[in-house]
Amino acid sequence: SSGINAEWPLRPGRMAVETRSVALPVRKVVIHPVVLFNIVDNYERRHDNNKRVIGTLLGRYDKGVVIVTESFAVPHQETEEEVSMDMEYAMRIGELQKKVNTNMYTVGWYSSGIVINEYSSLIHAFYKCQCPTPVHLTIDTVMKEQKMKINTHITLPIGVKNGTEGCIFTPVQYSIHGAEAEQVSLKFFQQLRGTKKTPNFNDQENIITSCDEMISQINVVMGHVKKVLSGEVPADKELGRQIMEVVQAVPNLDSDTITNMLNSHMQDLLAVEYLTYLTRQQLAVSARLNQIL
């Protein structure tokens, strides 16, 4: 496997690899939760002599925002003296992923552990060939500060022209946000809390838990309003306006219309339920008949 060697001529002040095109401005990075799960899994499965793992980030670029939607691991080795990564693997799997997932390009790379050293800049140079402004994501799986810190960086050129030039890793703002369904799955996983659980497709339990949550939230708001009324807490105009909005969100119709609407809706649902019950009975009867005849 081909690799980058630390002894490769990398004169201070000159990138040994040409960048692909003009760097695009990157203001923000949106990370989908899938990517983080992938990285943690990759870290757990690493070879014993590797202290950190690296891989490619895939996604798309949208008006200054880089949206990272997937990732895959790249085999690499790192010792005190040298670092090597399988560039051919990265490019091959990158091409495959692009074929299968439409509208997904290489947007950067990740590594576990918060250390950014000269090896990082070498690997970053490789990724600069793949895309104009690669994003570097680090996630601290070792948890040096009792937390799994996530950082995103891009490189910006610094230095004096025609003198000492180089690149510096500057942090970029990031947010973790997924599609609606991904958020739903995430919510379910958070309910697990270290145990195993079957995903229940029974709506009723979920409604009950959401109801409880809503009741507690309403209690909090009511408590605040009572405090304001009794003078303990100074009134806040912004908060007041928002509470007004919430209260007025309930449509204000007269009770007759409401009862009519609800009743007709209820009747539709009950009629449909009866029909499905009938259908199921028919199916059961036919299944038994098939056995007999």
Binding site: L36, V40, D41, L192, G194, F201, D203, L269, T279
Partner: protein
């Protein structure tokens, strides 16, 4: 010759354990494709390992496949799978295929293609499963991931014949209910993933379970139900025609035998040699029996649609009462 699969081997898996990483990947893939069309046939391969002691199938990784309706699409997919298998070995990911995942649109996934795929995977590995992911239900707030495989009787029958007849079904006592077997799915995470989940606690979450039961969902389900019933009706008509054809043929055979006997009696009277009694079965070929596989599958679909509607209605009534209490 096909060796018989013992029942204990086939049904040795009692539970499927999935990591949250796999579910997130499946979710992402399905919704990526859902942005383009309403009913994308999204599928991919599941990788993992079998834990024989605990009778558990662990699914630890997955990767998506391209939509392959054409032959060359399937060829590309095959090369892609081989390539991925080789590459995943280098990064220590389990490379054994333990099944496939597929997205469904209002439970319409249960058709001939699905049956074929499940059968193919089961032939290679007796413990393979098919994971069905429902993107619409998940969007509405309920993570819906279910694991299915063919029941032992159905698998053995499908191995011998590609289409079932009523006689075969009776022998194996196979109905639409025990065509597919559902295996309970459990989501289990490693410790480090749990730490990640705690970190992500602060991620803003705007999902709500309180959307009122909309009529469009009900309408669509009812349409599908009616479609399923239409298919069953057509099957019924086919069976009726077949029965009529069998009856007609039996009448013809009877008439033919009678004529022969009368002729022979007549010839004996006149002293001529009697005509040979020909083998009736060679003259009259019985009409082929009607295939029952399609009707089983459509019965399965109808049952699942009914289940869906019932669930929807139950929660819908609850939500309506809630809305009532708010507005009055």
């Amino acid at each position: 010759m096909a060796t018989s699969t013992s029942a204990t081997l086939f049904d040795s898996i009692q539970c499927v354990e999935i990591t949250s990483q796999v579910i997130m990947k499946i979710t992402r893939h399905c919704h990526h494709e859902l942005e383009k069309q309403l009913d994308p046939h999204v599928n991919g391969v599941l990788l993992g390992l079998i834990n024989e002691n605990k009778h558990v199938l662990e699914v630890t990784h997955c990767f998506p496949l391209m939509n392959s309706d054409t032959d060359e699409g399937m060829e590309i997919n095959r090369e892609y799978m081989l390539e991925m298998e080789r590459s995943l070995r280098q990064v220590n990911i389990d490379y054994q295929q333990v099944g496939f995942y597929q997205s469904t649109y209002l439970n319409t996934h249960c058709d001939r293609n699905f049956l074929d795929s499940v059968f193919d995977y089961l032939e290679e590995m007796n413990e393979a499963i098919a994971l069905i992911y429902d993107p619409l239900k998940t969007k509405m707030g309920n993570l819906s991931v279910r694991a299915f495989k063919l029941s032992l009787a159905a698998f053995q029958l499908y191995k011998e014949e590609k289409d079932f007849t009523a006689v075969m079904l009776r022998e194996k006592s196979l109905t639409y209910e025990n065509l597919f077997k559902e295996i309970p799915v459990v989501v289990k995470n490693s410790t480090l993933t749990n730490v990640l989940l705690c970190e992500l606690d602060k991620v803003q979450d705007n999902t709500s379970f309180f959307t009122l039961p909309t009529s469009s969902y009900l309408e669509k389900s009812m349409q599908l139900l009616l479609g399923g019933l239409d298919e069953t009706n057509q099957d019924l008509q086919k069976i009726n025609m077949h029965q009529r054809a069998v009856y007609k043929q039996q009448n013809q055979i009877f008439k033919y035998v009678q004529e022969r006997k009368e002729e022979n009696a007549g010839r004996e009277k006149n002293g001529l040699k009697p005509l040979p009694e020909e083998d009736v079965t060679k003259l009259f070929k019985a009409p082929p029996p009607v295939g029952r596989l399609e009707s089983l599958l459509s019965a399965n679909r109808i049952a699942s649609h009914c289940e869906m509607i019932e669930d929807h209605v139950k929660s819908g009534i609850g939500k309506l009462y809630l809305a009532d209490s708010f507005m009055s």
